[in-house]
């Protein structure tokens, strides 16, 4: 299992903290009425974005979701321009024309957050197709949730990517809920990669999405495979959303409060990496 260096671990730690702080700040601003539209927070899921993007270069592509701030920051998006975009200002990435769900940054290969569930998946396949046709070593990563794996276009895209051996990594962030619907009620599948990857005859990996080291290792395998012309992988990261679907949803009408608290206590990806940094790497706790 590939392991990050100390510096890489510190980098990933920093990135996860940046995401957490950004999301908490955005949440507070939204709740005080200063941000318009919708806000879908990534709190609790930081390890997936960070562990995957640790293997990506500036010219690799990602497509993201409505819950996209974590992917954007992990890929190299600037927090000031992202926050300005949330405020709909001209200093934002999209000059205020896109908002939270449509932030894009061409310079860092961010093909955009996306307001339609599943719709970023074929875009990533297209970007991968472009790389393949141009003969580069670029990779495209598509982030999406368990809910998106029931969209027709998910199936169309995985099928095409497998047939055409596209340099794409499909990263499912299974946070166990499609908005307010538990996974067991929206699909019979439990382990998304174990079942849906073989359906398209593509490799599948499932990892604990809240353990950035495990995500890092799995993503290494998948990104390397894509980069070396070995085709796509479906990487399923089991994670959990600490807040509601969006601000305004407390997240407890369809989830047990105890379950949420338990997840926060036991599976916080930042606390877990902190543990590793202190115990195994020798950093001092503050």
């Amino acid at each position: 299992m590939s392991k990050p260096s100390k510096d890489q671990m510190l980098y990933m730690y920093r990135k996860m903290v940046e995401i957490r702080q950004f999301e908490e700040a955005a949440g507070t601003l939204y709740q005080s009425g200063q941000l318009p539209g919708f806000l879908h927070l990534y709190i609790g899921e930081e390890a997936t974005a960070v562990g995957v993007c640790a293997h990506l270069h500036n010219d690799d592509y990602i497509t993201s979701t409505h819950r996209g701030h974590g992917h954007l920051i992990a890929k190299g998006g600037r927090r000031d321009r992202m926050m300005a975009e949330l405020f709909a200002r001209t200093t934002g990435y999209c000059k205020g024309k896109g908002g939270s769900m449509h932030i894009a940054d061409k310079e860092t290969g961010i093909l955009g957050a996306n307001g339609v569930v599943g719709a970023g998946i074929p875009l990533a396949a297209g970007a991968g197709l472009s790389a393949k046709l141009r003969g580069t070593q670029q990779v495209a990563v598509s982030f999406f949730g368990d809910g998106a794996t029931n969209q027709g276009v998910f199936h169309e895209t995985l099928n095409l990517a497998a047939v055409w051996e596209l340099p794409v990594v499909f990263v499912c962030e299974n946070n166990r809920f499609g908005m307010g619907t538990p996974q067991r009620e929206h699909q019979r599948v439990v382990d998304i990669a174990a079942v849906r990857a073989p359906a398209y005859d593509m490799p599948g990996i499932t990892v604990d999405g809240n353990d950035v080291l495990k995500v890092y290792a799995a993503a290494d395998e998948a990104v390397t495979r894509a980069r070396e012309g070995g085709g796509p992988t479906l990487l399923n990261c089991d994670t959990y959303r600490f807040r509601g679907h969006h601000i305004g949803d407390p997240g407890t009408s369809y989830r047990d409060r105890e379950e949420v608290q338990e997840q926060e206590r036991q599976r916080d990806p930042i606390r877990r990496l902190t543990q590793v940094l202190i115990e195994e790497v020798g950093y001092n706790a503050r």
């Binding site: 339609v116 998946i121 141009r134 670029q138 495209a140 169309e156």
Partner: protein, 299 residues
Amino acid sequence: MGEDIGAYGGAYAVTRGFLDEFGPERIMDTPISESVIVGAGVGSALAGLRPIVELMTINFSLVAIDQIVNHAAKLRYMSDGQFSVPLVIRTVTGGGGQLAATHSQSFENWYASVPGLKVAVPATPYDALGLFRAAMKDDNPILFAEHSLLYGMRGEVPDEWYEIPFGQADIKRKGNDVTIVAYSRMTHVALQAAAMLEEKGRQAEVIDLRTLRPWDKETVLESVRKTNRVVVVEETWKTGGFSGEIASTIQEEAFDDLDGPVARVGGLDVPAPYNGTLEAAAIPNSERIIKALSDNYGI
């Protein structure tokens, strides 16, 4: 990329020979998956290519409509121009071949409502070639709607290079007595009506819009100011048809030049029947154009 464009040569034989001439890296057969055909087209356009994708018919474009309307059309705007989507979506439109309701529709008018898209509806080989060249150069997503019954049409195209810009209608027949605005196959029905009107001593000016988004408002208005009588003809259902947009614009901007209300002839508001007689009754013909002019303008 598209379904059966390679070895099969295309469902309407449009891409016959392309695979041999351009090779499998440029002519790619896809699974039957319209959403990813368009979506991957969009994604590859975001990532530097200039793809041309085919949707076998516009009826099946509905499977991909999210990618067309929500993504192809909007990514340039939403990204503040960081990305453009230089994508041509070729598709086959129209009915009249007794293919029944799900295979006979014309949705160009729906797509023509969408900011961020361009829509071409050529009626002749000359126009199709000129517009297609312009489409390939355009950095915007374009729906290029080719009418299924016009593939057999022959026409002269010059050896020298030419292009036709979008938003430029073509006056296919000049006249002073009445304006007939049409597009796609209905252009030819309009010309038939013009021939019938000539026998009655009336000269019709037939305007072929050639593109619906953008559409050439000035040419239409100039003609109406001259003839004072206008009928708009299109194949899709009259309700919600693009003829409403055109008629509305004419009455807004040339109200005082009209001798009567703008006439509209469109497909009847029914699912396209399989039976040939029923189907023909549902599609505009020259008789209905003549009648509309008689009803509105007494000619």
